[in-house]
Symmetry: C2
Amino acid sequence: MNEFELIRRHFTRATPQAVLGVGDDAAIIQVAPGCALHVSVDMLVQGRHFFADVDPVSLGHKALAVNLSDMAAMGAAPRWALLALALPQVDEAWAAGFARGFFDLAARFGVELVGGDTTCGPLTLSVTIMGEAPQGMALRRSGAQPGDDIWVSGRLGEAALALACRLGRVKDVPQDVLDECLLRLERPEPRVGLGLALRTVAHAALDVSDGLMGDLEHILAASGVGGEIELEALPTHPWLAARRGEHAALIAAGGDDYELCFTAPASAREALAGIAAQCDVALSRIGRIKAGSGTCLLDKDGRAFPLDKKGYDHFA
Amino acid sequence: MNEFELIRRHFTRATPQAVLGVGDDAAIIQVAPGCALHVSVDMLVQGRHFFADVDPVSLGHKALAVNLSDMAAMGAAPRWALLALALPQVDEAWAAGFARGFFDLAARFGVELVGGDTTCGPLTLSVTIMGEAPQGMALRRSGAQPGDDIWVSGRLGEAALALACRLGRVKDVPQDVLDECLLRLERPEPRVGLGLALRTVAHAALDVSDGLMGDLEHILAASGVGGEIELEALPTHPWLAARRGEHAALIAAGGDDYELCFTAPASAREALAGIAAQCDVALSRIGRIKAGSGTCLLDKDGRAFPLDKKGYDHFA
């Protein structure tokens, strides 16, 4: 079996949502009437985005999850994906595991793999995701307004804590905490349902992949506003919450969270409580949008918390 | 300047055809009414698809060209692209050159780069291409019918000859011939206009990227038919044509041609002569579709030419 047969065996599934799936020069898809197509791509490289010994099931999950997270951040319903894979050698067990992780998550969200490419090379994955949202309904980064609350879903810093442990940069984490955090690093849960529910509520949104404070700046810059975040309000694991000062960089700037950060007017607070219950995900109000520019992390006394200067950023 | 600023500087252009281009969690595009979206992805890896010392302008051209060729093979008008790039280091001259090659070709075909991803890693490129064709008008691989003529555009084997020279496997090629063939290897010309013109004429089509005989089998298998090809009818460089027997594998199975191979009924011959003139590309009738299965390369006496067994396939 060569690598192409291997991939055909493991990566070809029925694609009833597509006009034409895997097997021609291109896939053909029909976007629903009244909808626009939302499309993005992520590339994952061994040694940079994942360790060489990562469980292939987890890698298959994560390769798709980070892309579903982009659709969630747009308020788009994910529909179709393409997978480009460079593999150093043919390894059927690896391919089977990767495919299981990928397709299990795809099935949960109704996503079809309609095409791709495989080649020999250093292990590299590139997933293109496509989704639909009604025209004009997308959640963009550019709609934040002064006075908006800033919200984030789920908990921050857990994946970053797991990575810091793995790299030996944090050493005193109990095993049960580490296990929880490793799951967050390896099997992030894309907030697709939340993104859909936020379409009519949020002014601006993105997904937190490179760390909250840095990612929030993209919203502020695109919207021409400023913002402030309260360190004490950031949702995180109880173990990290008890060490909030020491591990502020992990929580506020750690990355790999794949939570949604969004802004909404104060009048939306009650609606958001309902959305949190409906989507079964915690939503935390963590700060506010102001006129001006730039972002500031505040400690519990309302003073600027100097994230970088105190050397808390393990990943700089 | 970090790699992300570098890429933003060189890879962000206006995207008036898109609802939303680079800079959010996803791009937003609106497919024209009555059209379906055609989408495919290719991954190019250093050392496998190109040499480490390749001119970055040529690489930028080729990365897009091979994808445009997929759109041509579907009869789709290319519109939007995504570019995922892993780069070993920040190199502004390289990025500027790559971007020039990419965008010069994109501009010629009205293609907009609407998104992408950049990361650090072994040099790897993944381009996703999206295009439009009226619903039901795509050129598929599955429509070939017994009695159809088999056609190919342009000339075959030139890129493969250049590669064989570069690898030292063919040594007696005059410099002027080599220069012509190197241009075909490094700057393939996607047959986009031809693909559009073939929509109402061809029964089946694909682009020749891995070698004519192997690629043709995809049409035959998808259509449930057989086919035969006349070695003497294959269009190629005069230098190769004079050595057709010796270099049959380069011509018939060399790869990297990025020509269109298609089938059409005999009644379309006159229309195809007009299309060849209109598109300024040679079209050669190289064989015919038959009932049955499998493909056969015939010599000038009508006998099977044993491509593999005589060891002509330098790249097996």
